[in-house]
């Protein structure tokens, strides 16, 4: 066993010698591995950093927050039926369900309703009508000015809190607080600017305008009741299931759903949203991992190819080594170690490049900072080494089985 250890140490020494003797060629040989590992690490670090950040956000939100949304099954949606949560539903929940607080209605305006204007500049954005309690549930803090309060909502004041991106979108110069922007043709006074959140998968999280809920309802007019989302906080986390059941019964009665029909709404906890999110991250990582796996495979074939050339090129050296007393196993081990060493080196370079690329991407896109989990490091090294082993075995066996006399005569 100590003999094998000795041989491995000597093999590594000679592999290093041979790899650095042809530095540039070794680099090109292992480029496939470098790129493969770098892309794994870049992708994983960005996704993981992002995921860690999201988890943190959900943690801030607490596990005791419930979101109630309307839900229309696909089939019915195709038939033109649309389920709806209404202001009445909101009031029912707010006043009839015990053990909840910060019950917040939210209505979103899209498309032609969401045109915003400021001094001749026109654009569109996501318009969110919500109550003052929205701030507590979603941890939105104004960077400047203030969030709207209960009285803004009660007296239907025309005030707005802008996402920071709106500033540049509408080219607002100077202090925005106190200025007026038009939403859907009506003028609103800017009372606050929200904190910057950055981009998420290319979506600007700062492109929104928050309006008081009552004002937004009035803006939409009484023609059609808008579909709203209701968020609320459960005071006692242990009461979560009871509260859910209570809301469910209430809404079913309110919507006049007969026994046996499905709910036309969904009640989701932050935990469930987190689970869904984790699932998305997991499958994204898996798909990307698969693609990268293929690129590592191609890299491995590249390594095998160059190793085979290298064996031919060094036929005479192998003959000399055999004449000096190298056994088949010595030669096999030497080439195998060389392949593995080359791949591990590629893996290391790839790791550094990948982390660099991940950090760069995070910085440029405003995503949370990249983190490389330990499993990704272990996996990419393991994979690189494994590829060296698998694709090194054929060239190494070819070298080991050379006939010493033929090898010595090889020109």
């Amino acid at each position: 066993m100590s003999n094998l250890k000795f041989k491995i140490i000597e093999g590594t020494r000679s592999a290093a010698l041979s790899i650095f003797a042809h530095g540039f060629r070794s680099f090109l040989t292992t480029l496939g591995i470098i790129i493969g590992v770098a892309s794994v690490i870049a992708v994983v670090s960005v996704v993981q950093g992002f995921s860690a950040n999201i988890t943190q956000q959900f943690d801030g939100m607490g596990t005791n927050v419930l979101n109630v949304e309307s839900y229309t099954p696909r089939k019915e949606r195709l038939q033109g039926v649309r389920a709806k949560l209404t202001y009445d539903d909101y009031l029912e929940i707010k006043y009839r369900v015990p053990g909840v607080s910060n019950v917040t209605p939210t209505v979103r305006m899209w498309g032609s309703n969401a045109v915003i204007t400021y001094r001749g500049q026109s654009s569109s954005s996501m318009i969110v009508g919500t109550a003052s309690t929205y701030q507590k549930l979603n941890t939105v803090y104004p960077e400047r000015g203030r969030f709207f309060n209960l009285s803004d909502d009660k007296s239907r004041r025309r005030v707005a809190v802008l996402g920071p991106s709106i500033m540049s979108k509408l080219d607002i110069k100077g202090d925005p607080i106190g200025q007026h922007v038009a939403v859907s043709g009506e003028w609103f006074k800017v009372i606050g600017i929200a904190e910057k959140r950055g981009k998420l998968f290319g979506f600007d999280q700062d492109d929104f305008i928050l309006l008081p809920f009552s004002t937004t309802r009035a803006l939409l007019g009484g023609a059609e009741e808008p579909d709203i989302t209701i968020s609320l906080q459960v005071d006692e986390p242990s009461q979560l299931e009871q509260v859910k059941q209570h809301i469910k019964n209430l809404l079913r009665r309110n919507h006049k759903l007969s026994k046996g029909t499905d709910d036309d709404f969904e009640i989701a906890t932050a935990d469930q949203m987190l689970d869904t999110f984790d699932e998305i991250v997991g499958s994204t990582t898996l798909v990307l991992g698969g693609i990268v796996g293929i690129s590592l495979l191609v890299g491995g074939i590249g390594i095998m190819n160059i190793m085979l050339v290298s064996v031919t090129e060094r036929t005479r050296e192998i003959g000399i080594q055999k004449a000096l007393g190298a056994t088949r196993f010595d030669i096999l081990l030497q080439f195998l170690i060389e392949a593995v060493f080359l791949c591990l080196l590629g893996g290391l370079i790839g790791l550094i490049l990948g982390f660099g690329a991940g950090s760069l991407i995070s910085n440029l896109t405003g995503l949370p900072s990249a983190t490389v989990p330990a499993w990704a490091i272990v996996l990419s090294f393991g994979f690189s080494g494994g590829i060296g082993l698998i694709f090194g075995i054929i060239p190494a066996a070819k070298a080991a089985n050379l006939d010493p006399i033929d090898a010595l005569r090889y020109e």
């Binding site: 003999n3 003959g319 000096l324 007393g325 010493p404 006399i405 010595l408």
Partner: protein
């Protein structure tokens, strides 16, 4: 005084197939080689010199006959044991030196000791000693293409000697060298012989053969003659002393 036998060849034959025709590269060689022999193997090309060399060096096995090296029948050994024999008992010296091109003189000489499992520090010490013995103590960090032909061959000799082999097998050792370097190398061989080393030199140069103490002649794979030279022989070229 009875001489100690190192190598015993009995009825050694090597048969090759060339297409559909077979021929004997060696055909019934009987030969004993003794401790501290200084033997030349001569013969025209195709006479079987190189084949004999490969067999003696355990790079190849005979198709018939018996080869005993220090009493061990080589035919009974597997590939790994043959590698061990090449490592411990045989020192090869080739016409084209066969040094590892990327390795320094020192690394080249250390190489066979790796296969013997000797630790780095001792390996280095022994390789330095061997290089000093052939007069290359100040060329240790040079790679082969920074060395002259004579220096390369001396590195090869140091590499062959560093394992303290039972026999030194030199295949046309001076074939690629000019005449004055040839003299140097042969003087080195003389020195090794007088230190007790067993040497076998394959050559087609009459001057080299005359230098050895025993000459065997091969022709068409058969042993034609086995003669002792009258020693000491005359110097190859005048002024040898200046080179030694």
């Amino acid at each position: 005084m009875s001489k100690q036998t190192i190598i015993e060849l009995r009825g050694i034959a090597k048969h090759y197939m060339m297409g559909s025709e077979g021929f004997y590269a060696l055909d019934g060689i009987d030969l004993d080689i003794y401790l501290n022999d200084y033997m030349a193997v001569v013969g025209s090309s195709g006479s079987g010199k190189s084949t004999l060399m490969n067999l003696l060096g355990c790079l190849d096995l005979p198709t018939a006959g018996e080869y005993k090296l220090k009493g061990t029948d080589v035919a009974t050994l597997d590939e790994t044991s043959l590698a061990g024999i090449r490592n411990r008992e045989i020192g090869f010296i080739f016409q084209n030196f066969n040094l590892l091109p990327r390795a320094t003189a020192l690394q080249n000489v250390m190489q066979p000791l790796i296969y013997r499992g000797i630790a780095l520090a001792e390996r280095k010490q022994r390789a330095q000693d061997a290089l000093a013995m052939v007069g290359l103590q100040d060329r240790m960090t040079h790679v082969p293409n920074q060395l002259s032909g004579g220096q390369r061959q001396r590195v090869a000799i140091a590499r062959a000697l560093v394992t303290e082999p039972a026999i030194l097998l030199a295949d046309e050792p001076t074939g690629n060298l000019d005449s004055s370097t040839t003299v140097e190398i042969m003087a080195l061989f003389d020195q090794l012989h007088s230190d007790g080393q067993t040497l076998i030199v394959v050559t087609h140069e009459q001057e080299i053969a005359e230098r050895c103490h025993r000459v065997i002649t091969l022709k068409d794979g058969r042993l034609m003659s086995d003669q002792a030279n009258k020693v000491p022989v005359k110097p190859l070229v005048s002024g040898v002393a200046a080179h030694v």
